[in-house]
Subunit: 141 residues, 2 copies
Amino acid sequence: MSQQQPTTEEVIRRLQKHGVNPTRQRIDVARVLFARPQHLSAEEILHSTRKLGARISKATVYNTLALFSSKGLVREIIVDPSRVFYDSNPTAHHHFYNIDTGELLDFDATQLQLRNMPHLPPGTVADGVDVVIRIRNASLQ
Amino acid sequence: MSQQQPTTEEVIRRLQKHGVNPTRQRIDVARVLFARPQHLSAEEILHSTRKLGARISKATVYNTLALFSSKGLVREIIVDPSRVFYDSNPTAHHHFYNIDTGELLDFDATQLQLRNMPHLPPGTVADGVDVVIRIRNASLQ
DNA sequence: TTAATTGCAAACATTTTGCAGGTTC
DNA sequence: GAACCTGCAAAATGTTTGCAATTAA
């Protein structure tokens, strides 16, 4: 839970590199997300930023996450029907999703070879490939 | 949109084969789902069954879909944060997801070779692999 | 007649929206 | 001061729940 916060300067540079105007609230959200590669819900980000002293509203958290996502700073992970997770791991990777615990774990994209990509539907181009390996705890049947 | 409905007998057999007690409402839901391999939301299933004359409530649709899912009759597809799709295609397949249109298309699992599966986290076993190839329309940048 | 199933309406949780007020260049 | 950003509260949406009524074994 405890995180070595990236410095404000580091975070600002990262936002600017992706064309995001670094406002106070965006910096607060970015500091939480980029403390380490992780998966957080909007609610968790709201609480974490406030715990660090940020004055930020729920609407702004959602606005900010949508912006970050559109700029490629975070990835939306849709595996849990009840909420979206925002993934701050910038490297190419896929996910294990533990259906018993709801836990989401990364594995490096190089660990899985995808061969013979199927033909895309006509008039479309690929935007990305998401692989989710659903796992469950061995003891439970 | 028009579908050649499977017969009641066919549907009942299919439910029973999966250990599902074929009640009137479950048969109605199954007839809609199994008219052809497709992806439907709970809302769409509610409307379609009623259009076919079924007397069924929203709660029963959700109950039924959760039951079908747990018995392996349908697969939950989580790609759109706004709602779950239920996939009645029983064969091994993955999905294209068109982020411009929200359209979901199947492609056969044999069209994509997955090599070198990564080691699972200790104490877990694989439950399945979902691959989603996100696509967008070529003209739109 | 007992257990399983269903329907209804209310509850819930997450996300979105409208708009007024603030902030920044 | 114009454009952008934020906060608040309310609304919207999809899903779940509690419980009484119905149905089926």
